[in-house]
Amino acid sequence: MPSSTSLKQPLSGASQKRLDLLVSLAGLLAMLVSMVVLLLLLAGLVVDGGPYLSWKFFTSYPSRFPEAAGILPAWVGTLLVMTVTAVAAIPLGIAAAVHLEEYAPKNWLTDLIEINMANLAGVPSIVYGLLALSLFVYQLRLGQSILTAGLTLALLILPIVVMTTREALRAVPQSIREAAFALGATKWQTIRHHALPAATGGILTGLILALSRAIGESAPLMTIGALSFIAFLPHEPWRPDFPFVSFEWLLDPFTVMPIQMFNWVSRPQEAFHMKAAGAGLVLMAMTLAMNGLAIYLRARHRKRIQW
């Protein structure tokens, strides 16, 4: 190891400066690799898929003929699945976070929940798909439906929602809670009217990041048997007669953006690869927009609230 000599012997000021410069360069280079890859990835998608982004691409069904194929069922499916995921994961996650952060006593049960939560965050996403395949699809007979998919992704992002909500709650200073208690508020009133509203910015940021993670997930949905060739739309969520909303779509088969993209990538024809790039571009735009929004919200929140 040539550097071992330089570690033991004192260096002259000039060569020390040179070494520092070298290390800085190596560090920058290491980070540059990731950024170059990100740029290449985006550039590749834009070059291959950009020309296909047209109104027709968004309003057509998939097809055996690459020139006619579009992503209509895919983006509608993504929207509907995300709705189910949000409705299921957000209340449950926030409630669990409030319990752990505000109520949980220091005992074995709390320890168990905490360790368990950390482990869940590390379980590969495809394992959630296996759980859903056996439990939701076959035991509960929900089928390979939008409902199953939404619930599966909700389980997947639950640890993220809990983690980020807890961080947001932790950032609310204790003095806010003490002021509410001093005015005679109960514990729940304090949380509901003071701690949670004060933490809204942080919670929102976390929720958006969690949903942006779910939007790109395909492995667990492929495991439950999501079809990739869907040439129809789910039932409409409204109807003309009372009660005007319909939930039939929950049990409809579906496809989502990443699965559509996988389907096109895995075909041999080059024309479909271009379509895959188009779908990838739309998908990237969705996730980047969500992440950008989260970064913006976080920055704005930090600036506005100074305790």
Partner: protein, 298 residues
Amino acid sequence: MRLLGASKRRIHERGIELGLLLAALASVAITLGIVGVLAYESLGFFRQVSLIEFLTDSQWTPLFSEAHYGILPLVSGTLVTTVVALLVAVPLGTVAAGYLSEYAPRPVRETVKPVLELLSAVPTVVFGYFALLFVTPLLQRVWPDLPGFNMLSAGLVIGVMIIPYVSSVSEDAMRAVPMLIREGSYAMGGSRFQTAVRVVVPSSLPGIAAAYVLAVSRAIGETMVVAIAAGMQPTLTFNPLEPAATLTAYIVQVSLGDLPYGSLGYQTIFAAGLVLLIMTLVFNIAGHFLRRRFQHAF
């Protein structure tokens, strides 16, 4: 705000407390569900296939007429892609973390971190596309014999994908080393580089190790990149230039077909899932303890 009587209010508060506790317990239910489902379905599998065959047979062809049920080819595929990924992510992630923690001026750090976070937000299927249609053709210019599906390009791309995990966790670990310790080194005449390599890195070693371990578990569980770019034939090989299937890719491959519920073929994906879960769990628990030890250090 509603005002309730004292006893009513107490019931109200208790009710909410109970509801919140139940929500927190949902996570335990999920874990029990995962373990229960994998154990139950795998049990059906192991009733028909002996554990010894499962662990020693060198072929995995459960859907062929002459079926073999040896998990080793899938494990070898998983290990090869993981090792390739680590060879990329560990050096790059560690150097980046060291630079960000010890050298980078504040503005650089503030701009670089969100970009690295963005990298971890890219959908994995997009990385798969990148590996198959960009990295592989690039590598084929160097090795013209490289097959269109290979573990090398999948591993390389997974490596880039997990750089943010390695760098952010190890940077946190390095930055947690108190300034006093660095100042001690400077007072003894240590240079910046000496301080970084001989003082900061050794004192944050458990944290850095935790970062590596978590990255391993991440790479083992990665699915879409290998399913798209590494091919899906289970082959017992340790050569990254060959195509092979990983545990995750096999599960995807079977899911693409339509296997009847309860058949042996259906149960094989749960057996593969169980092996996958055990492998990641070992690394996750190790990472958890390393991190905890490190948090207690200062």
